[in-house]
Amino acid sequence: MGGGRETIAAVSADEGLRGEAEGCPMKKSFRDFLADLDGAGELRRIKRAVDLRDVSALVNQSPQAMFFEELKDYPGWRLAGGLIGTRKRLALAMGCAEKDVAARFEQGLGRLIEPVMVEAAPCQQVVRMGADVDLAAIPYPLMHLFDGGPYLSGTFVTSKDPEFGRNAGSYRLMYRTPNETGIDLVSPSDMRFYYQRQLDRGRPLEIAVAMGVHPYEMLAASYKAPIDMDEYTVAGSLHGAPVPIVKCKTVDLEVPADAELVLEGELLPIGWTADEGPFGEFSQISGDVKWNPIFRVKCITHRIDPIFYFLQMPWENDWLAAPVTEAAGLRALRNASVQPVAIRAPVGSCGYWTLIASIKKRPGEGKNALLALLSVSEVKLAIVTDEDIDIYNPDDLDWALTFRVQADRDTIIVQGARGKHIDPSIKAWELGKGGLPTTAKLGIDATIPEGVPKQLYKRIQYYGKGRVKLEDYL
């Protein structure tokens, strides 16, 4: 590829974004990330006009992220998809080595940077309100065979509560009509809590959906921040620069000024009553029909030359989830005064349900570490090893599980903890509409048991290793 940075960056001259932030370092935008991918040979360009119905299958076949320069029936739009399809591309977005993404994210939680308000924003170069709102006029893709409709997935959704302040999260939106979508709000989240508070008063909840933001914003949205923590400050910290924000046109909210596309509107006060789904979930399964609120769109704004972000499920979601889960695990371990060496949220657990950590262990800390890791979100399996185990090597991990674990002494089961609907094993279908599930959690202490001499785990070493060279015999 190469040379693409000029092409993409040339249309990303975000004039006026500094506003009150004049003199502050400029944060990277979605387009800057595309240029980074292009420069690293990780972005495949397609010049031929593509039918939106073919995009999902095409992105799925490409080992690189994809950039479609022309969309059939959507003049002026381009589309980028599969951007965070690997841990390598996630690390590229975060400017660090693959093994360091959790530490890099955790670092971003340490020094929060407030966003700055700007007056004019690229995301509002085109404004459509009232009768001009038409969701069918934006590239609304059909992603998976069993989906209940076309979906938007790479969203950065902002809401506000008078008491708890601004919140940002990521929620999928199923196309219903030119001005209505479904939204998945079944899982516990701050926005669900805000919505419930408004619902109790019989009022709608205003939200603003930004698409085409930098992965740092997506990571911040994925993080289960304390309810009084503004995710915009987390994104700013990750960038090392404030996120420029702009006031919405029709709702009392702000959005990232450099976004590609914004939907403004409100969640109707109807509760969990409208069919939504199935959707190809980040759990890597097709999901089922859920009952959810409806999002009524009052205004659509976008850049004059917008790039639509097609977040490919489940991989992009899973790779985005992993550092967030890992960083939460690191924090939990440190809060428990346990010293972590490495941590991993395997993509097989969707970067979400399993945490494996190696630690510098003192007596009893294998169990302390398990208790800490199992407190993280909906993590339902935690494994702790000593520091000599390479937790990225499945054979090494199996060895520790085999020889350092006695099931009656080294496992912990916690019942009735908070669960997530999309895990079929918790039988969420038995709940009523809007009901919240619980789950059991398992911890396995695969550290050397107290009282067992370490020398019993001395690994085989080959006689003559280092002295005898194979090449001398070839």
């Binding site: 039918d51 939106l52 119905r53 059939k72 029936d73 959507y74 969701l135 069918a136 006029a137 609304y140 059909l142 065979l145 069993f146 989906d147 209940g148 409709g149 076309p150 196309y175 219903r176 009509t177 030119p178 209505e180 069919d275 789904g277 199935p278 089922d288 029909v289």
Partner: protein
């Protein structure tokens, strides 16, 4: 109601269908037009769902 919306309703009335099946049957219709038609069907408020995610039209809902 547009011809595409009417065709979608007729198809669901004939048998419950996945959204993708309906989309496949209208590959000749530009995607934005198909989405407009789907919006018409949604607004008719006649759709139900089955456990497999199929769209269906119950006889009691069948006013279109």
């Amino acid at each position: 109601m547009s011809p595409t919306a009417s065709a979608i309703i007729a198809a669901i009335r004939a048998r419950p269908q996945q959204f993708a099946e309906l989309a496949d049957a209208h590959r000749d219709v530009p995607w934005p037009d198909f989405l407009h038609a789907w919006g018409e069907v949604r607004r008719a408020n006649i759709l139900g769902r089955d456990d497999n995610g199929n769209y269906r039209i119950e006889p009691c809902e069948d006013k279109a």
